[in-house]
Amino acid sequence: MVSESSSDTLGAPARAKGFLPGDDGLWFFICAEITLFGLLFGAFLSARAEAPDVFRDAQSLMVPLFAFLNTTYLLTSSWLVALSVQIAREGRLPAARRCIDGARVLGLLFVATKAFEYWHEIDLGANPGTNPFFMFYFVTTGIHLGHVIGGLGLLTFVKTRLKDSIEQKDRLMWVESGATFWHMVDLLWLIILALFYLLP
């Protein structure tokens, strides 16, 4: 929901307690999504606790460079999207569109890097049937990748809303909603990064 104060260009709305950026329904959806991912993470951890050697050996095949690049892409795109919200609140639409464009390019780089990484892993003989680690890996990162692609579509639509012909209230509703979804994608990746690439 966009409150009256969300069109304030001085940043006051963002400081007012009780402000919910974007659409109310989207927040409900995000709470449900991250809860489901939390359960998926728990299932992964439970399976790993039962066969730690299998998971450790499989994890050693992961290439840290791919994960590092993808984390940098997503964190930077999230930063640009957060800036686009703040800039859109000031009414500087061309600058907000440029931030969204930058975020979309980084999102596409994430997709390309992930596709290359999958190709590399499959080339090594890994697939969802290889062992429980790779089953969880392909399922979890595959669902996440679907969210990245969906988020890119949403950001593309958000860019079309950053026009003068649209009311500021509606414009902010879209840019805040798109941003919130994109940050959720970033948030989930940070946990996936720890589980599949970093934790020894």
Binding site: L20, A179, L187, A194
Partner: protein, 88 residues
């Protein structure tokens, strides 16, 4: 509003530095595995909290949302710790 953008940029830089430290900790074999595990968990918690509170602006949302996200973060990090140190 400039201050808000500066704050967002500082958060982004902290996230990048924390990520770099996480990778270093994970792949430095001189660091004890349990210490690396807890360090990466702690850094992941801090990174998630920054994304939630700063980028998603949850710190300004109604208290029910703030409580939900705090519980979610603690639950996820809690399960990561639990399955490592409290199961056979």
């Amino acid at each position: 509003m400039q201050r808000a953008q500066t704050r967002t940029t500082v958060v982004w830089l902290v996230l990048l530095v924390a990520t770099a430290i996480s990778f270093f900790t994970s792949h430095d074999h001189n660091i004890a595995a349990d210490f690396a595990y807890v360090s990466i968990c702690t850094l992941s918690y801090l990174k998630c909290r920054l994304v939630i509170m700063e980028f998603m602006e949850v710190r300004h949302t109604p208290i029910a949302y703030r409580v939900f996200f705090e519980i979610w973060m603690l639950a996820v990090i809690g399960e990561i710790i639990f399955f490592r140190f409290f199961t056979l």
